[in-house]
């Protein structure tokens, strides 16, 4: 689930509010997105993928994590490289090659084509 909005990194572009397919965010009074309906989050990582500032972190768990969880430790997420890692992997963002262009996976059978998705 969405667990972190970095106030430091957020550029208040509203993109996450716009793209979340289950409408989890609201715009707060200070302009920062607020996680208003976390229980509606389906853990699809789309907000993170679309955040131009790498300001969001979606934990893989489909239930909320406690306050002391790694998912709320921005310092740790930054140092471990997890913050912004999905966008890096799919090659979104300026100067990156789209991951789709590099997506040559293994073939699941000897005669099969390589998986590309």
């Amino acid at each position: 689930m969405i667990e972190l909005v970095s106030a430091e990194r957020c550029i208040t572009c509203d993109k996450c509010i716009e793209v979340c397919p289950t409408n989890v965010f609201d715009r707060g009074e200070d302009g920062l997105p607020v996680i208003s309906r976390q229980s509606d989050c389906q853990t699809c990582f789309q907000c993170e993928a679309n955040c131009p500032a790498d300001a969001l972190f979606v934990a893989p768990q489909t239930h909320p994590l406690p306050a002391e969880s790694f998912a709320h430790d921005e310092e740790h997420l930054r140092h471990s490289g997890l913050l912004g890692s999905y966008r890096r992997e799919i090659g979104w963002g300026s100067g990156r090659t789209p991951g789709a262009a590099r997506a040559i996976g293994p073939a699941l059978s000897p005669a099969g084509q390589p998986l590309i998705s």
């Binding site: 397919p21 893989p60 789709a100 996976g105 590309i116």
Partner: protein, 518 residues
Amino acid sequence: MTLTADVLVVGGGPAATWAALKAAGQGASVVLADKGYCGTSGATASGGTGVWYVPPEEKAREAAMASREALGGYLADRRWMARVLDETYERINELADAGRYPFPVGLDGTSLRNGLQGPEYMRRQRIRVKRAGVTILDHSPVTELLVDADGAVAGAAGYQRQAGRPFEVRAGAVVLATGGCAFLSKAFGCNVNTGDGALLAAELGAELSGMEFSNAYGIAPEHTSVTKTAFYNYATFYRADGEVLEGAGSQRGRSVIARTLLSEKVFCKLDLADDAARKAMRLAQPNFFLTFDRLGVNPFTDTFAVTLLAEGTVRGTGGIRIVDDGCGTTVPGLYVAGDAATRELICGGFTGGGSHNAAWAISSGSWAGRAAAQFARALGRGTRQVSAAGGAGLRPTGGSSDVDVAEIIRTVQAEVLPYDKNYLRHGDVLRTALKELDGAWSSVRSGLRAEGAAAVPARQAAAMVAHARWMYTSALARNESRGMAKRLDRPDLDPAQHHRITSGGLDEVWARPEGALT
């Protein structure tokens, strides 16, 4: 807010975007209304998918068509398979050329086009739809269809949840591309897929087909969401004590996992992948590894607990019945595409998950969009007397009473998510479940009146209850095991039941062999 268009497309995934593109290509004015956000909504945008993309060579096409016929219980149709292969080939090439999708290039220099990365595919489809002049309404769930005096569809109404206002689109034709139904199981990207389109269609008298093929479950690490299953071909499954779980597997043997999960945890390790495969897997499916990287699990060397998440008719094949080559239904002006429609025509009774469903979304979307545009053009722009067709959750038959929508959702989930009810099906269990579901329907139908923003969850709940009842009524009508619709009490295939099962109805649900008299 009221808009007028030739064609209204409901939904925002692959099928919806192809429908909007092709309707606009015919010169129609088009509105696309999505419950979420067109570009991120649905199973494909989050997950990505293989595509049934086969070059037009006779031997390759023949092999492609033959490959799943037996698995599907011989309910697919060769003519439809051939048309889907033709259409998909053209549309994927269009996506490469006009859509500039960056397909990877293989070692021999050929462009590989047998799959699509979800986020990349759908962000490009959104751009293409906008550039085609389509009006996109995001966060605009449709809650009911509009119908004219002759019973033809005339548009839809809904509620814009971010703008906080109702909306209405008057249209000459409507394409439903709302996806299948995964019952809010949190399977990857599927929580927008609550079977809304089937409810909308059934309220106008449309029929369904293949609803017994609705028991798909995807593998995911326990307490997580990513139900991408291809790489579990490299898995060995274990019990807690480290003993190998015999017979368990991803493609064959998923039911062994389900049965074991009823009484104990099941663990997994992708220990059959060699070094080259491990590296390549990351390139092909970066989202598959999101879960593991964030859990701190190395899936190749660490064992991890797995679960199965219901994917209902998203990965199943049942949906709204199609009556012509343009993906029309029995309702004039109403067309269906993607997972909202039955995929039996190309999959029979076997899961359409992955490549077949992707090809189907592209093809059925394109056909439905074109046919809807032609229907609207023939209809002309005269004014029609229209009325709103929504029933359950909006206009109760009794006095409105206290119906708790969350409780209704819990009730339907309790009947369709458990492995020992929906996956490992038994006639007696299905009959008991149906009684519960019928009760839930009665209370929604007689007592639930929701308005404004509250209409959206109310209608989702109604759609899920209706979906579950068509599923189990059809599963009982198929008194045998065929394709994915297996019955513990009827374990064999019965040659006398080589037919599709049509279903429908809301207050009275029915299911019968296709073409049988009522």
